[in-house]
Amino acid sequence: MHPAYSVIFFTTASGAGYGLLIWLALLAAAGNVVPNPVSGIALFVLALGLITAGLLSSTFHLGHPERAWRAMSQWRSSWLSREGVAAVITYGPALLFALGWIVFESTGGIWLYAGLAAGVMALVTVACTGMIYASLRAIPRWTDATVVPVYLAFALATGGALLVAIYSVFTPVPPHGIWPVVVVIIVAWALKLLYWRRIDNAAPVATAESATGLGHIGKVRLFEAPHTGENYIMREMGYRVARKHAVRLRRIALLVGGAVPVIAFAAAALFIGPITLVAALIGLIGVSIGVLTERWLFFAEAEHASMLYYGASDV
């Protein structure tokens, strides 16, 4: 699949924003935050900013952004529609949550409920995003059971990294506030490794033979494409990343996006003090690079069934 940057940015940025929102809800629930305007503004502007920026960018690749509102109408059947609805709904409780945190400097009572609602809706929204892909049978690898968990895990990983980084700006974050993030990062990459392992070993779902129904004659190969030039389907679905290239990228992602942040945050947790901020920032940058690469590969490595008609032998 063609890795469209608008989509990569949307899923990663809004993912991080929603992840952050979820962490904030958890903090509120755990009751060990001292909400104050400064941190609140920083955190919520970032969370809602990322979410909004992501959502906006997702409309850039639309042929008719001015009609984007229509995308809410089909929540009964369409995960894309559901994602839209969930995303919009999330704003309500999220803004209340922010209001309590920043203006009333409280995360208790109704503000807590708003926070929990916001967290849940954020979770739902990210799950919908994952389901958009997981529900596409035409791209067999995406239907893998790990796809939605991966989306959730990376949302939490990037959100968590943000949380720690921001907090460190104000006060050194206590270890018990960092270790969970380290765990989530490890879980996220563990799931991703599982996904890679599974797609590498998955048996083909469809073949050129089943796509044409000519298998009974023998091996099927494309002799001539309909046109000598490209077409929309080839541009959109025909993108193929070289195996070698992909493997290299996977390693980089794992190293920069997994190993580096884990070490950095662990360091931050272990040696509380001035280095926390630096370590946390390194961790944040690492995770971000990691998730962008992982997301790029998610598209670039995915093979679409329609390519069976254009020379692919199986998907």
Partner: protein, 819 residues
């Protein structure tokens, strides 16, 4: 192609005849990718395969298009079909699976041929005093008029021939059929002998021969349709040998095409499947006498300045005396048609004109006037040199070797660039046109048809129908055909006027329908000024239906022959005797052997003696004898892409999306042998040139053959395509590699054509293919062809169709001003 058919059965494949799609049980197709009859063939194949009661065999080095849906694909080696067919004949003769009745009734198989070696009469038919061919009647034991219906003609044996008319020779006489037996029973035509040469194993050849015999004789069909034969005998049913055949340029575009095509017709005759139910069927106005009467005009005394020529420029030569040559045997025509270079060039030799004009051979010219032929590109052999010849100047005078070129085209083709004067034509949607029976059939075998085109679009640019231009030139030059005695225009109404009122012979004009005062006579009748209105009322077509009794055996069917004579298609209603044995060929052979008044110059003798044979012979395509098969091991062919018409499909954005550039297709095994893989860049070299190409591998291709789609490669800037268009940057034109002249033999260079008809031997080409990653693709020319005057820059986007949307629909405004 057509010549071979017309000299043999008085009709032809091509669009001149068709298989009996309804009734055939076995259909063999030789070397067809598309044909002129393209839609009818697709319709026919669809019908045939849907019925599922016939077998369809396609003989073709490449398995695409029609061959792709064949029940059996015979991937023959190019140029060897003659051998394959003669091996089939060998098998049929060997097993006695021959329709002798058909032969004696409808062909000259029983005619006596004089056997008097070393005399001027050897190999000619033995004729009686009334010039009637003779046969040996086994009833009376006498030599009698071969056309008598009450005889039991001998098909083999030797008889003493009456002394020839001019007392020159006596000698023996043998039935033509005996000569045929002698020729094809020879083991050099046995399946085992030809297998290695054709690439078809002997078993397959035997099996196909068996299937042909089975279909013809075991699956005989009869239609309960009464008919009357040429001799007036009534038959209550029509018997059919349901084997049909069709052949096209895969046969005719080789230098042995004429004889190979004749071999196929002989195979059909042996099976008795000419114009019978289930067989090959003539389309009116065919059959005609084999060959028809008119000779080409153009002898020295027939052409004089300011006077119309004594007759038509094309015709049918039957003896050296008919040739258009001077006393030294040199050609009289600029294309050398009807000279010793190509004695029966029934279509002329257009593709040699530029070379001859440039060389001033046989004579220099002042003006080269061309119409609707992309002669600087895809319709010329040796394109590179052709372009040089078009632009070459005389060092002394600095004048162009071809002083002035006038050309009429409707598009900015490659040829336009070389014209001194361009006559921009309308397209076929913007003018009146006529598809006339006097030209070629557009009908099926069940009845004649002709058609007109009427303008449906008014030209939006400064163009003029070429026919109008010709008529006006005719008037200005005061040519009798176009002017009244007082010098004024005979057809003031222009081309439509001409269509309705021109008469070739009294009562016969371009259009057959609605003639006569009452507008109700068809075929023959006085010119009808309102004829075009009648056509328009009838959807621009005129079609007539034969009566059931006229539909088969047209060559020997009295009702049909009478009708054809009335319609003016044939001079007389006599039976059209199929020429199993071709006497005109023998006349030329004799001339080459030193007999007769008109003899070929020395350097022609061998080639004519070898190739002009009254019974089909096979000789290797000439290229093979000039080009070292080891150095150039591969045959290179082109095929018509169904979606593109020669060069000019490329000016249509839809069609060029389908074929924007062409690859070189190669058999996978062959490629592996060359260490080549799909998508490799290669250099394709012939002894005459070299081009770059990208190869594409396939299974369905003869292992000694590469091929590409015809005429996709373009010159930069031609057709108003952008400089970086794939047509001129990735595609290639194979013609650069095809020579127009063969290497010198005894100091003379023959054209690269069939020695008998002058048909261009496009498919004799041999090449070698070399991997070369750095080879330059495309037409190679640095500079793009300039845009012709009045041609607008092409659109950046086509929104064709938006104009049909309702007013105010948002889509009308999208995409800017691009459509």
């Amino acid at each position: 192609m057509a010549a071979a058919g017309i000299y043999t059965i008085g009709g032809s494949f091509w669009e001149f005849g068709e298989p009996d799609w309804e009734n055939t049980r076995y259909f063999m197709m030789f070397g067809v990718a598309e044909d002129h009859d393209s839609n009818p063939i697709k319709m026919g194949l669809g019908k045939l395969k849907t019925k599922g009661q016939a077998k369809f065999v396609s003989v073709n080095p490449v398995r695409t298009g029609y061959s792709a849906i064949a029940d059996e694909w015979v991937g023959i080696r190019p140029g060897s079909d003659g051998l394959f067919v003669m091996a089939l004949i060998h098998e049929l003769l060997r097993s006695g699976k021959v329709d002798l009745e058909f032969l004696v009734r409808y062909t000259n198989a029983h005619w006596l041929v004089r056997h008097a070696p070393g005399t001027a009469e050897h190999g000619l038919f033995v004729r009686g005093d009334d010039d009637q061919p003779l046969a040996f009647d086994r009833k009376s034991g006498e030599v009698v008029d071969a056309s008598r219906t009450d005889i039991d003609p001998a098909m083999r044996g030797r008889f003493t021939a009456p002394v020839s008319a001019d007392n020159s020779s006596g000698g023996d006489a043998v039935p033509a059929f005996e000569l045929l037996l002698e020729r094809y029973l020879d083991s050099r035509y046995s399946p085992d002998t030809v297998a290695p040469q054709t690439g078809i194993d002997a078993e397959t050849i035997r099996r196909i021969a068996g299937e042909l015999a089975h279909a013809a004789f075991e699956q005989e069909i009869t239609l309960d349709i009464p008919w009357t034969d040429w001799a007036g005998r009534k038959h209550d049913k029509m018997v059919g040998r349901p084997v049909s055949m069709h052949a096209m340029r895969g046969i005719s575009a080789h230098s042995n095409g004429f004889q190979t095509c004749r071999a196929i017709h002989i195979l059909q005759m042996l099976l008795g499947s000419i114009d019978c139910p289930g067989g090959f069927r003539y389309k009116p106005p065919f059959p005609r006498p084999a060959p028809p009467g008119p000779k080409p005009a153009g002898k020295a005394d027939q052409v004089s300045p300011g006077k119309p020529m004594a007759g038509p420029p094309l015709g049918f030569v039957t003896a050296p005396e008919d040739l258009l040559v001077d006393d030294d045997g040199k050609a009289l025509r600029i294309d050398k048609a009807y000279s010793w270079d190509a004695p029966i060039a029934a279509h002329g030799m257009m593709h040699t004109v530029i070379r001859n004009a440039w060389a001033g051979d046989p004579y220099p010219i002042d003006v080269l006037f061309m119409f609707m032929a992309n002669m600087s590109w895809n319709s010329s052999m040796n394109t590179t040199e052709t372009i040089d010849m078009l632009t070459d100047t005389d060092p002394e005078t600095g004048e162009y070797k071809i002083p002035k070129i006038i050309y009429s085209d409707a598009f900015q083709s490659e040829m336009v660039a070389y014209a001194d004067l361009i006559l921009p034509d309308t397209t076929y949607l913007e003018r009146w046109d006529c598809i006339s029976l006097l030209d070629r059939p557009i009908c099926d075998a069940d009845g004649p048809a002709d058609a007109i085109r009427q303008p449906v679009v008014t030209p939006d640019r400064d163009v003029r129908p070429f026919q109008e231009v010709l008529i006006e030139l005719g008037v200005r030059l005061g040519l009798p055909a176009f002017t009244k005695d007082d010098g004024t225009a005979k057809f003031p109404g222009g081309y439509p006027d001409y269509l309705a009122n021109h008469e070739r012979t009294p009562g016969i004009g371009p259009l057959a329908g609605w003639r006569g005062e009452n507008q109700d006579s068809h075929g023959r009748g006085a010119a009808n000024p309102n004829q075009l209105e009648r056509y328009v009322e009838n959807g621009c077509f005129w079609k007539d239906e034969f009566t059931p009794g006229q539909r088969y055996y047209k060559h020997a069917n009295r009702d049909y022959l009478n009708h054809a004579a009335e319609m003016g298609w044939i001079g007389s209603a006599d039976q059209i005797v199929l020429q199993l044995y071709s006497e005109p060929m023998q006349r030329f052979k004799l001339a080459a052997q030193g007999f007769g008044a008109v003899q070929p110059p020395e350097h022609y003798r061998d080639r004519i003696a070898e190739t002009f044979d009254p019974l089909p012979v096979w000789y290797a395509p000439f290229e093979d004898s000039y080009t070292d098969p080891n150095a150039y091991p591969i045959h290179a062919l082109t095929q018509r892409p169904m979606a593109i018409y020669h060069s000019w499909g490329s000016q249509n954005t839809w069609l060029r999306q389908i074929h924007g550039w062409n690859k070189l297709y190669m058999n996978r095994k062959t490629a592996e042998g060359h260490g080549l893989t799909d998508g490799d860049k290669v250099r394709v070299e012939s002894p005459y040139g070299s081009i770059g190409a990208v190869i594409s591998l396939m299974e369905g291709c003869n292992t000694d053959t590469v091929w590409t789609w015809n005429a996709i490669g373009k010159k930069k800037g031609a057709w108003n395509l952008s400089k970086d268009a794939p047509e001129s940057n990735k595609g290639f034109l194979l013609n650069h590699l095809i020579t127009d002249l063969l290497p010198p033999k005894d100091g003379y260079r023959f054209a690269n054509t069939d020695p008998i008809t002058g048909q261009a031997a496009w498919f004799d080409l041999r090449v070698r293919v070399i991997k070369d990653d750095s080879v330059e693709l495309g037409d190679g020319s640095k500079s793009a062809m300039p845009r012709a005057p009045g041609v607008e820059p092409a659109k950046k986007r086509s929104r064709y169709g938006a104009q049909f949307l309702p007013e105010g629909d948002w889509r009308r405004k999208r995409g800017g001003d691009s459509s």
